[in-house]
């Protein structure tokens, strides 16, 4: 995921050595305690992950047989306008959902960090409510709120004399609806992550800045933002990896919830296309090739993130 998550592994103080002549059972115990994770990860994580690269080289029909076809799935993918359309949609939705979310979280974390805030727990808890609401339920409510004929939003727009907007049917509009769902779901969680980092900043740093005459904006600009830099990088990468896998929102937002997310695939994301090819058309090979492409995008993002964070460290 990211280098910012992995702390420097601090070797704990050496635990007491087992007494001499410890029975074999005792000496094997630690391995037994950690074995479940390794077994489960190998079977359901690592092996399928590696196997994706293998399946991608085949014409693989789950009901019939599979034939080795080399890189044909990939050349087909690169010539497939649907693939590029899905890539564009994914990037657009990711951008629309990440940027506002991070700015909002920055502002809210700064406000929530105020020493004299009343009802702090209420505010902290309320912004976490979307996180416990399921994506499926969220998608259905938002689809209704943004509906052309009966949606609350278009009614409000109508009050100020704007013609009804058919959000879900247009490309940009459908991206906005999906991004709104993603932002709504995650902004509170991100806010609390930022707040966790802010609370590590000693109070007197803010106090003395205020005494020196720094206004609210200056305190935000020169104390809050620098303190949050590492966690901002961390959330950018996690939201990107999450963003590349957006599936449920586009599936459920379109009327009749189709695998194409609308008549002209206006909001079909890469994961939705992977599902459509793999489980809608039973082309496991082609679907796996899309999975490999997604993986390469994740790697590219991680690499950019790594370069950025080392640049930032070097600047200090």
């Amino acid at each position: 995921m990211s280098t910012t998550l992995a702390p420097v592994p601090v070797a704990p103080a050496e635990p007491p050595a087992p007494r001499v002549g410890t029975p074999l059972r005792e000496r094997l115990a630690p391995y037994a305690y950690i074995a479940p994770f390794f077994v489960l990860f190998a079977v359901f994580g690592l092996f399928p992950f590696l196997f994706t690269f293998y399946v991608a080289l085949f014409d693989w029909n789950p009901i019939g047989d599979h034939t080795f076809i080399g890189f044909d799935n990939f050349t087909r993918m690169l010539d497939d306008p649907r693939f590029w359309n899905a890539t564009r949609n994914t990037v657009s939705i990711w951008f629309l959902s990440t940027v506002p979310q991070l700015f909002l979280a920055l502002l809210l974390a700064h406000l929530l960090n105020h020493a004299r805030l009343r009802a702090a727990l209420f505010f902290r808890m309320s912004v976490l409510v979307p996180y416990v609401t399921s994506v499926a339920a969220t998608a259905i409510v938002f689809a209704q709120l943004f509906d052309r004929d009966f949606g609350l939003l278009n009614w409000l727009l109508g009050l100020v004399g704007v013609e009804p907007v058919d959000f879900v049917q247009s490309t940009f509009g459908s991206h906005v609806v999906i991004a709104a769902m993603v932002t709504w779901r995650w902004f509170g969680y991100t806010t609390l992550l930022y707040l966790a980092s802010l609370q590590a900043v000693p109070r007197d740093v803010y106090e003395s800045a205020a005494i020196d005459g720094a206004g609210g904006w200056q305190r935000f600009r020169h104390i809050t933002i620098p303190a949050l830099r590492p966690v901002i990088i961390f959330t950018v990468i996690t939201s990107t990896i999450g963003g590349l896998q957006i599936f449920t929102e586009p599936l459920l937002v379109s009327p009749g919830s189709t695998l194409t997310c609308g008549a002209v695939r206006q909001c079909q994301t890469l994961t939705l296309m992977l599902y459509e090819q793999g489980f809608g058309r039973y082309e496991f090979g082609y679907g796996s090739a899309i999975g490999v492409a997604l993986f390469l995008m994740v790697v590219a993002v991680a690499a950019v993130n790594y370069l950025l964070s080392s640049r930032i460290k070097a600047d200090r």
Partner: protein
């Protein structure tokens, strides 16, 4: 604007109240639509007080899909994952924090490295494995892969390193306790709150998971609550209230849970397991 710098300004409260309202409103709206008939729900200006149609619609939900069964399925899956992850991660975290064995640090590094593998992209081979195991359309296909959590091990190890002293371990060993007994009688009771928070997050994630259950489950009586909502949504155009009732009913258990333990979830995030 002559307020003293260290008091919270009115506009700051306004922003926070706005954020809270935005967070809660869609759920309230879900409830409104779930209690009125479609005609009322789509009239403008909108109705803002709940109607009396809730039980009729709820009944319809239970008639359309095996909804009660799907709630039970979700509880079983999310509960098993929550409890299983809390125990397995506490046990592995304990081994990495407090036991001495060859390869310990290397293996822990491997655990951390597994976090960098985006296994969610491998759904097609994961499905093939489930076919091989004969687990397609079963609940264990959802539970078993969900039990492994590298982050959970990291999290529990942090807590065990911070809270359990070597003297305590030493004393227990001198009393003749086995490693297993030390874990159950001494370590686990101390880190139970941290394990609880971990299990809570695992529960919420599992309850709300959609893609994997959508791939692996086939028959309506195996659906989790999320997949049941999807099935209801296919009748969206016919009855808006139906899909909303289903959504509301599927969210309700988690809202109830959140009222009781939301404070601890907030605390879990604020403990900041993410240090730059």
């Amino acid at each position: 604007m002559s307020a003293r710098h260290n008091n919270v300004r009115w506009w700051q409260y306004a922003v926070l109240v706005g954020a809270a309202a935005v967070s809660i409103f869609p759920l309230y709206w879900m409830f409104i639509v779930a209690t009125t008939d479609t005609a009322t729900a789509t009239q403008m200006p909108p109705e803002i007080v709940p109607g009396d149609n809730f039980f009729y619609l709820a009944g319809l939900v239970f008639d359309t899909v095996p909804f009660l069964q799907s709630i039970v399925n979700s509880l079983v899956v999310a509960g098993a994952i929550g409890v299983g992850q809390a125990l397995l991660c506490a046990l592995a975290g304990f081994a990495f924090a407090k036991l001495r064995f060859p390869g310990r640090n290397t293996l822990f590094l491997v655990v951390l490295l597994t976090m960098t593998v985006p296994t969610q992209l491998a759904v097609i081979p994961q499905y093939l494995i489930m076919s091989e195991l004969g687990w397609v359309d079963t609940l264990q296909a959802l539970v078993v892969p969900g039990l492994a959590s590298a982050f959970g091990i990291f999290w529990m190890r942090q807590h065990i390193v911070a809270t359990i002293s070597d003297e305590l371990m030493q004393a227990a060993y001198l009393d003749g306790a086995s490693t297993w007994q030390v874990f159950w009688r001494i370590a686990f009771p101390i880190v139970r709150p941290a394990a609880f928070v971990l299990g809570l997050f695992a529960f919420v994630t599992a309850w709300n998971d959609f893609l994997w259950p959508f791939i692996v489950l086939k028959s309506p009586e195996r659906y989790t609550a999320q997949i049941a909502i999807k099935a209801l949504q296919n009748s969206f155009d016919i009855d808006l209230g139906l899909a909303m009732s289903g959504s509301f009913l599927a969210t309700l258990p988690l809202l109830v849970l959140f009222v009781f333990v939301g404070r601890r979830m907030v605390g879990g995030i604020l403990e900041g397991a993410f240090k730059g």
